[in-house]
Each structure stands twice: as C-alpha cells, then as structure tokens.
Amino acid sequence: MTAVGATFEARGPAWNWLSTLGRLVLGGIWIAAGVSKITDLDASVRAVRAYRILPELAAQLVGAGLPAVELLLGVLLLVGAGVRACAAVSAVLMAVYMVGIASAWVRGLQIDCGCFGGGGGLAAGVRPSYGWELTRDAGLLVLAVLLARWPVGPFAVDGILAARREESGR
C-alpha cells in the first residue's frame, strides 16, 4: 500500500490528471512537428541551414535527425513511457530552439523557424514572427519542466510498469 502511494506520489487525483493532460499536449505537439517535417527531410535540412549557425554536416545531422526524434518523443509521451526522461529531453530541446530563434532575431535574419515543416524561407511580404515563436516555445518549455517534476498520471506505461515492479518486489 505505502509503496504504491510512494510511486504515485501523494497528490490529489486531479493533479495526476493534469500531468496526463500535459503529457498529451506536449506529445501531440511533438508528433505534429515531427510529422510535418519527416516527409520532406530536404526542407528540414534547409530550415536548419537558414539559421546559419551550424556547419554543413551538423546542419544535415540536425535537420534530418530531429524529425524522427520529435516523432518518437511524441509517441513515448502519448503512451507515457519514460515520461520524466522524455520531458527532460523536451525541455532541453525547447531551450535549444529558443536560443536558435533568438539568435536569428538578433542577427536580423528573415526566416521562418521551420518548427512545423517548411524550408525556413518566408513567403514574400511575410514578416518573421520570432516573438510568437519564442512565446510558444517558452510555454512548452515550462510545460516540459513541470512534466519532468510531476511525470506520474493515469494511462501511462510507466504506471503499469511501476505497479508490476511493486507486485514482483512484494
């Protein structure tokens, strides 16, 4: 009894549900971001190049590698597997994205963040929306940090595994 209580932490059920909700939101956004990029890896690499930060090979690695990472992160969060680790990685990624976007803003680049696909280029006459992109990523960063602190909620693989561990440990 007490061991199970320790696993699920002594909070009200509403708080646990909030954790699940946050997990679904963050996971859903990762999946949307990954899916929008994974079908056109060339565009994803171009979007990374457009920041003009990374050397060519690193830009290819990040541009072609990130969509799969984002997609997998999203799936893991949705099913609730390794939530704390995934939330921590999400927070780190969001922080890195924010540094990239802020750097593009400071340098006066005219690009799209490429967060949800696209090759980084803006259509003619469209102004960059760095402020909104930073605000959005900051919100997601906070969400990821909160989720890393309180990763336990209903409907998670983690919960099933923890319960099973308790069973066998008894």
């Binding site: 171009r46 997998l72 259509a123």
Partner: protein, 232 residues
C-alpha cells in the same frame, strides 16, 4: 540477513520516488539518438542515389539564357509552384527578355524544388525536372516553357499539374521528340535535387531570389534595371 533486507527495501522506495531508473533514462536518450541517426542515414542515402546527369545547355546549378559575353549575369532562383515567382515573371519578364535580346544581360534560371510540400505530387520537383528536359532542346525553348508553366501554374495545396500536362505544355513550347520520354523517366531528378541543395547551401532561403552579378537585389523592376545598368 535482516540488515540486508532493510537496505534493499530502502533502495526500492528511493527508486520509486525518483521515478524511472537511470537505466531507463539512458535507454530513452539512446533510443532517441538512434532515431536521429536513422533519419540522418535516410537523408544521406537519398542524396547519394541521384544520378549525376546534367541537361545539355545547362549547368549543374541552372539554365542560362542569353549571350555568354553579356556583362551582367542575373541569377533567378525560382520555384514553379511559387505564386510570387509567377508575379515576378509577369512584372519583370519583358524587362529580362529585353536585356537578353540587347546583350546587356544573361539570365541564369535556377528552378528550385523548395515548395514540394505545397502539392500532393511534389510539383516543384517534377516541374524542375521537366525544365531540365526541355533545356536539352535549347535555351530559347526553355525560356518559352518557363512562361507557359507560369501561365498554367497550379494553385498551392493542390495536386500540381499531371505529367501528361507537363509534357503537352512542353510540346506547346516547342519541345523535341525526346522530351516526353525524358519527363516520364524523371531523367533529371538528381540534377533538380543537386541544384536545390546547392542554392540552399549558398544561403538562398526563399523564392524568388534575384541576384545581379552575385549580389541580391530587391524584387522590383527598377532594382533590376538599375543593377544591370550599373554592371555595364
């Protein structure tokens, strides 16, 4: 015996409080990195498969229209799916034709495939490949095809033009007998991929981008005339 058991149960409580074990965290990071490396591998494989064929009358980066000796070189980075490129052609097409005819400038068209995601059929890529095919029939035919493709530009987020129409429009522009086969076989897929990549590496982020003798200019007709005039 007793102390050993206590120690074990203590550790179990600590593990439970901290959530997943270190092994779990390391495992997840490794799996994520692996996914990233797989993506990178797929990208590199796609980029090696392109055949190196370059259309006759073209270079690895585009198709030149006009006299090689012209003092000004106008580089136009375009995408056949891009509405603003179409507008630019309507605005400055006649100016460019005049500059080419007078020998003041030659124009290097770079038909990029930036906007593949704006059609369900990768129209940007297919139109660029077809433009490579028609370049084999000469720069003048290529220039006519460019105008015809713009005049028949499909809307964004649609299905693009079907292959049959890409071919019939080419024949309308004066394509030779090998054009249809060249388009159907995606002969210049590697060329399109390579010139798109080259432009991206050179810092071209959006279409249309216009450069005169290597320097980017505003997409206005006045800026074009002025820059070409200055290059004399």
């Amino acid at each position: 015996m007793m102390s050993k058991k206590t120690g074990r149960s203590n550790r179990s409580v600590v593990t439970a409080r901290r959530g997943p074990s270190l092994t779990m965290i390391v495992g997840i990071v490794v799996v994520l990195l692996f996914a990233g490396v797989v993506g990178f591998g797929v990208y590199r494989t796609q980029h090696q498969s392109g055949s190196g064929a370059i259309p006759t009358n073209a270079t690895a980066s585009g198709v030149t229209v006009g006299q090689a000796s012209a003092p000004a070189t106008v580089d136009i980075y375009l995408d056949f799916q891009c509405p603003v490129c179409n507008e630019y052609e309507k605005q400055s097409g006649p100016t460019l034709d005049g500059l080419i005819a007078s020998g003041a400038a030659k124009v290097v068209y770079h038909p990029l495939a930036f906007l593949d995601r704006f059609s369900s059929t990768k129209y940007s890529t297919r139109a660029s490949e077809a433009a490579g095919c028609i370049a084999q029939d000469g720069p003048a035919v290529f220039a006519r095809y460019l105008k015809v493709l713009y005049a028949n530009q499909p809307p964004e987020n649609g299905d693009g033009l079907p292959e049959s129409q890409l071919i019939s429009l080419g024949q309308q522009a004066g394509a030779g007998p090998n054009f249809a086969g060249c388009v159907s076989a995606n002969t210049f897929a590697g060329w399109t991929a390579a010139l798109t990549d080259a432009a991206s590496k050179a810092g071209i982020d959006a279409t249309p981008t216009v450069e005169v003798n290597g320097k980017q200019i505003d997409n206005t007709d006045a800026a074009l005339r002025q820059a070409v005039q200055a290059a004399k």
